[in-house]
Symmetry: none
């Protein structure tokens, strides 16, 4: 009765975060229609009604959860893109590709990507644009830039940098997806191994 119930009382500024974390897991597992607010509340350790203090509807919670997750991802992507590394273009590419691999292997990203592929963003065009522009396009642009520099420097063979960047993201995305569903592709090696295989293959295609 008068024991202090954890998570109740105090720290109201933590509530949204807790809820979003729980929403992330539940929506990630069962999708927008399949997830139940009850489960999200239980997982967040709050009452069902509490969710409505911070989010208007289930859809709003979903939207917000995707937005926040994407926001984190985008910040991360920005940090990566702005990191300058000296040395050969190839090693720059390797460095970037490695970071990007770590990035898209992160659970935060995997879940969002799954929702995207599942078509769950159908009714949230802003989020779709958000994802397409700020994640996919931006990531590709950075790689395209690196490749263009490699072509200019003679390290890479002349080719369309945009197409090459698209091939890059195809390989990385697909593998990230498979790795995240290992029960599906048990033959896949460790993350480091897969990264090496991708780099090896990719560089063979673009190196002079």
């Amino acid at each position: 009765m008068d024991t202090v119930e954890r998570s109740r009382r105090r720290c109201p500024e933590e509530r949204p975060g807790q809820i979003l974390d729980a929403a992330f897991v539940e929506f990630g597992q069962r999708g927008l229609a399949g997830a139940r607010l009850d489960d999200i509340a239980r997982r967040a350790g709050v009452g069902k009604g509490t969710i409505y203090l911070y989010f208007d509807t289930k859809e709003a919670l979903f939207r917000e959860m995707v937005r926040v997750t994407l926001g984190v991802a985008i910040e991360e992507a920005e940090r990566m893109a702005s990191a300058h590394i000296s040395g050969s273009i190839e090693s720059l590419f390797q460095e970037y590709a490695k970071k990007w691999w770590t990035f898209i292997r992160d659970e935060r990203f995997a879940v969002v990507q799954r929702l995207v592929l599942a078509g769950e963003l159908r009714d949230f065009p802003e989020l779709m644009a958000f994802f397409a522009n700020d994640i996919v396009i931006r990531g590709r642009r950075v790689v395209a830039g690196i490749i263009a520099r490699g072509i200019a420097s003679g390290e890479f063979r002349p080719t369309d940098p945009d197409i090459a960047a698209r091939m890059y993201s195809a390989i990385w995305f697909a593998h990230a997806n498979w790795a995240a569903n290992s029960h599906f592709h048990p033959a896949l090696g460790s993350d480091a191994q897969v990264l090496e295989e991708m780099l090896d293959f990719y560089l063979r295609a673009i190196k002079q």
Copy 2:
């Protein structure tokens, strides 16, 4: 429109097909939880109860729809795999890759792949195994075989055929996905163009 909407038609052999077609569209768009039996019935042009003459539950209808779609896909895949083409290994690969591209660009396949990626098969392990083994693995095995022959004949550079096959399927799958969501990737060219780009890139990576 010009579909036969006559009420109480009586053609028990056609019913399951009609219903499965409608289920394909609705489940494809909204997923298992999101689709409504009412909409499926309306789209199939039958009464709500009619569905239950042929399928026990919503889940059973979903399962059957995936199974049938996969079945069609697998037959197609088998036909492809068994087709023999004379000429260079490279042209053989091109021929196969082209067919595979057409195959995975087909709407039937796209929808199933989306459901798979969305995790909708979570509760249907048989279907998941079905997909993983009979579609993904099989397709890869055929390509790995071609590549191995190319390596043996000296046309392709020595490399692990299984990994090369995986890279192949990464590129093809990812592009099929993007092409199926063109609103997402408006920059993507025509199917033929994309195929050419993929072939060009891929062959550069494996040719001697």
Copy 3:
């Protein structure tokens, strides 16, 4: 295809009887709300639609089934009532009570009685009146008559014949019910034994 399907073709005048028999069993087991037309049709060996050639609604079928069953019972009761037996009043009573016992132990009667007790005739006042007047009251009147004669002749002790008749029907009905639900009253002996017990007890109460 051209084999003669039993019960189809020919004998249309048998249809109502077949259906009523099946209705008797299904309604008897599951009640008006619980029984399914599908099961009745299957049990009757006819198509579901056939039922509607002979009965307007489920309720009508129920009503008819009860009416027919009651009709048979009433005929039987009439035959019993009109049978004259010579000898002492006591032996006359015994004879009648035995017949009545056989009668109410019959499945046809048991089912109707169950429906009555279950309140299933709630919405069929004519049937209720039918049962109350033509079965309960009539049976009682006959017994009351016999008892009155017994009192007059000095064989039975002076008492209200109507009340005595009511006690009689209480004992007989209750035992018929228990005997029909033997899983409920496993201790009950054979029909003949029970009859003997009832007669013995009852006669002690009314004999001089």
Copy 4:
């Protein structure tokens, strides 16, 4: 009427009781299959969903309602059985029979008995056993004991106490049933009168 119909009252301890009361009435009138959850909810003055906060399914609610009603009945029966009364065996019997009459004339009991007779407990063997053992058998045992004492003391004529007890319960049960369906047996007098008639008749059969 004058029931508190205030919306969204909040009294979780009262809810199950309210719902069970309403269930008692609806199931009592229309049976398991015939009763509608909607009506039960309306009668209980709660929303439809509220029922599911306390009971898993319609069947569970039915079972619980019978169980509770039987439980109350059994407590009552226990109290009666344990009551000791001084005086002659005959007056003891009369006392007990009077109480038992009041007991089985209670609506709570009548409804359960009707469900039993209607075969509604078919799918709930525990409840059937509950009823058979704790109500029927127990009640009979008490009477058998009294009768045995009466025989021993010479007040009652020598006879099988179990059979005599069965005759007793036949008469009492049947009359309780008829009295509960007075539209069926309008000739029946008041409860007290009927009790007197039964006692008079019964005692004549067993007294020395």
